[in-house]
């Protein structure tokens, strides 16, 4: 089936080959007949655009003279993209799928903090509060999975719940917890020692002293977990061996 399709693709001109028989009966065709969609723009595929690059995505992307700095014992997953002015301090961990884009302003992940899976940390040019718009994540902070942080400051020993959104200029003071799914509007301050939740984030209750003591323990526990991930990786990868094999097989000179 695949071979036939490939042959058809070569024989038929491009525009025709996108016609799929049986379309006339589908709901989409009826829909299209009612309100015809604007014709798809004619963009010719550029022949020199690479469709497959064996190198994949680079982890640390320097922009100009700003290069991401990763501490020696920080764990940054291979899936992560650090671009521009990003500093990952000692004991911190950045988990798979995260994107830390320090292209407009600085991003700093503090000691023993962790940015969990699929987070996007970005820094805007300027913050509505007028303060420096860098994203500063201080020590012992846990940023839950799938969060979005933009130009915010997170003081030491906080927990940001999963899927939370912190907008420009927000400040999360020390020893506070943001529940999962909370959205902090721009310029909002979460006071010290409190639990906030919701969209937009509202005060829920104050934290007990025991809960406050648990916060850095969570960060340290995740740091321990990142040690085990780190030990899976050798100091240097042997991916270059694969590259050599590939180049040899393709006849490209090394």
């Amino acid at each position: 089936m695949a071979t036939i399709t490939r042959l058809c693709r070569r024989i038929l001109p491009r525009a025709q080959s996108t016609w799929v028989p049986g379309r006339d009966f589908s709901a989409e065709a009826a829909q299209a007949a009612e309100n015809p969609a604007p014709p798809a723009p004619l963009i010719r595929e550029s022949p020199d655009r690479v469709k497959w690059d064996y190198r994949g995505q680079r982890q640390a992307i320097p922009l100009g003279q700003w290069a991401p700095k990763i501490a020696v014992d920080a764990y940054v997953a291979p899936n992560v993209v650090l671009a521009g002015q990003v500093v990952v301090w000692d004991g911190a961990s950045v988990w798979p799928g995260a994107v830390l884009r320090g292209d407009l302003n600085k991003i700093s992940v503090g000691f023993c903090s962790n940015v969990q899976e699929r987070c996007v940390v970005h820094a805007a040019w300027s913050s509505p509060t007028g303060l420096p718009a860098e994203t500063l994540i201080e020590r012992f902070v846990t940023i839950g999975a799938y969060s979005l942080l933009r130009s915010c400051t997170i003081e030491p020993e906080c927990i940001i719940g999963q899927h939370s959104i912190l907008m420009e200029g927000s400040l999360v003071e020390t020893h506070s917890i943001l529940e999962a799914g909370s959205v902090v509007p721009p310029g909002r301050r979460i006071p010290s020692g409190e639990l906030w939740a919701g969209n937009p984030a509202k005060f829920v209750r104050a934290l007990t002293h025991e809960e406050t003591l648990e916060i850095p323990k969570l960060a340290v526990a995740i740091n321990d977990l990142s040690r085990s991930y780190c030990s899976e990786f050798l100091p240097y990868s042997t991916a270059y061996l694969e590259v050599e094999k590939l180049k040899k097989s393709l006849g490209i000179s090394i």
Binding site: T5, Q31, I43, K51, V81, D103, L104, L148, L241, E242
Partner: protein, 250 residues
């Protein structure tokens, strides 16, 4: 290469082969068969049978983004890191000067409860924020989708409208021009001021410029990026942070 040189090269080769064989032996002992895995097989632009993405030449597509199927990307647009744009079931067309920021997902439905399946049309100069989820919706020119927003089937965001961060816009909602909608479920919040409307088009331009810098950096091949690393180490002065780390005070 003289005979001595050839001899050294051969010995080097034997040592490397032995080393690799030892590496594979060690992996087998660990029960780790990763050495059989090939390189990164991630395909940034992936076609499905005859449907292939059509990307303008000066658009920036991050290497770990995934464009699959029938996707049209206009000139000066940018698809940032970790995005997934799936035109497998229906078509996705992204206009010019538009930016789809990191970790977003643009997908088209095959069928939905209402029975109407719409292709996605994203107009020119649109800003789609980080981690947005766009599912079978239409976004007209110069609109702004806040980060983390979720737009469900059949949503139409008109020109100069804004969807606030974290909003969940339910099916078939029409967001009129010049308004901000937000919350879960998305409701009308307030009207956009004139300078905010101007900001939308400004942000699209800013992102287009940023995309050029990222595109240039990602397109660098291995030798160039290694050379730059060496140059950086040599010529960049040690900044204040280094002094702090080294314990130099004052």
């Amino acid at each position: 290469m003289g005979t001595m040189g050839r001899a050294f090269y051969a010995v080097g080769f034997w040592i490397r082969e032995t080393g690799q064989a030892l590496d594979r032996l060690g992996s087998r002992l660990q029960g780790n068969y990763l050495f059989q895995e090939q390189l990164s097989r991630h395909r940034t632009l992936m076609n499905l049978f005859e449907k292939a993405p059509s990307v303008a030449k000066n658009a920036f597509v991050a290497p770990n983004a995934s464009l699959t199927g029938e996707v049209y990307v206009g000139p000066s647009s940018s698809i940032w890191y970790g995005c997934v744009v799936r035109g497998d079931v229906n078509s996705v067309s992204i206009g010019s000067g538009t930016n789809i920021q990191d970790n977003s997902l643009i997908h088209v439905a095959k069928s939905n409860i209402a029975g109407k399946v719409l292709p996605i049309h994203i107009g020119d100069n649109v800003t789609v924020g980080h981690s947005a989820v766009l599912h079978s919706c239409t976004v007209e020119d110069e609109a702004f989708i806040g980060m983390g927003a979720t737009l469900l089937d059949g949503v139409v965001v008109e020109k100069h409208a804004m969807v606030a961060a974290g909003a969940l816009v339910r099916q078939n909602t029409r967001i009129p021009s010049g308004e901000i909608w937000g919350g879960n479920p998305a409701k009308f919040l307030r009207n956009l001021k004139d300078d905010e409307i101007a900001f939308i088009s400004q942000s699209a331009t800013n992102y287009a410029n940023l995309a050029e810098a990222h595109a240039a950096e990602n397109a660098k091949d291995f030798d160039k990026s290694e050379l730059e690393k060496v140059l950086q180490k040599k010529f960049t002065g040690q900044d204040g942070e280094y002094d702090l780390k080294a314990g130099v005070v004052g």
